[in-house]
């Protein structure tokens, strides 16, 4: 079971190429109607170098090349059927686009309990950089086991 000894632990450093097909599939899944997220000509007309990575998709790319189930079960000691996503934060420094190669560097930054130990929270932070070393974003994710 997760305890404070996990603080500081790395849960992965992974590198992912942003693919146009993935972005179009994501746009379909969330019902996106703005063509800049699916049509490269529209994205370029809007001043972007290719299809933009939409605001929350960074979290999806973060899990590429990782086994999130194993991180939850084996690192955090959580039961997959009892966890919920409590909070999620994104701080944006620059936009990312199709064709970019993004690196996600994730650590556990906090572990705490609420309701007398009935709820255990694990907080992870991820620094996202692109192929030029530019700082794209910081992600903060809090999971809770109920």
């Amino acid at each position: 079971m997760a305890d404070k000894s996990l603080i500081g632990r790395s849960t992965g450093v992974t590198t992912v190429e942003v693919e146009k097909g993935r972005l179009r599939f994501f746009a379909k899944a969330i019902g996106e109607t703005d063509p800049i997220y699916t049509d490269e000509a529209a994205a370029k007309a809007a001043g972007y170098r290719s299809l933009p990575v939409p605001p929350t998709f960074l979290m999806c790319l973060e899990s590429e090349g990782r086994n999130p189930q194993s991180i939850v079960e084996d690192v955090m000691g959580f039961d997959l059927g009892r966890i919920l996503h409590a909070e999620q934060g994104f701080t944006y420094h620059a936009m990312a686009f199709a064709g970019d190669v993004l690196t996600f560097d994730t650590h556990i930054v906090d572990v705490y309990e609420k309701k007398g130990g009935a709820l255990t929270f694990v907080v992870q932070e991820t620094r996202v950089t692109n192929q030029a070393g530019e700082h794209i974003a910081d992600l903060r994710s809090s999971l809770v086991q109920r």
């Binding site: 993935r22 599939f25 994501f26 379909k28 899944a29 969330i30 019902g31 996106e32 703005d34 809007a46 933009p52 939409p54 605001p55 929350t56 998709f57 979290m59 999806c60 899990s63 590429e64 999130p68 189930q69 997959l80 059927g81 009892r82 919920l84 996503h85 409590a86 909070e87 999620q88 934060g89 994104f90 701080t91 944006y92 936009m95 903060r140």
Partner: protein, 139 residues
Amino acid sequence: MAMLSHEQVRVGDTLPPLTLRPINRTTLALYAGASGDHNQIHIDIDFARKAGMPDVFAHGMLSAAYLGRLLTAWVPQSQLRKITVRFTGITQLGHVPHLTGHVAEELEQNGERCVRVEIRCENQYGEHKVVGDAIVALS
């Protein structure tokens, strides 16, 4: 979409709301595939029942993605500086996500003139499912 300037925005302004189609199993299957979140609790009723849930339910990040749409329909994404959301309730099959936001505060951050926008996703019964804020830079 033109940049939004500070002259165009006032505290109390509301964002154009966004109402989605009711959540069904196809919505969840597509989101699981597209997002890469394959947690069975969102797509496999047998797994969900074993975990004590009556049925599969929506990924919290699906509602967060809808909130992203609410924001980028209002301002170009390049103006978004921060989004923070709390997942306050479970979105069940048949729920109709309704997204709203309003400008809560003007502030300066890293030398930029910004506003803090309070955003939320609720269902057709007015139950809050995701609540949060966004920081948006203005030109």
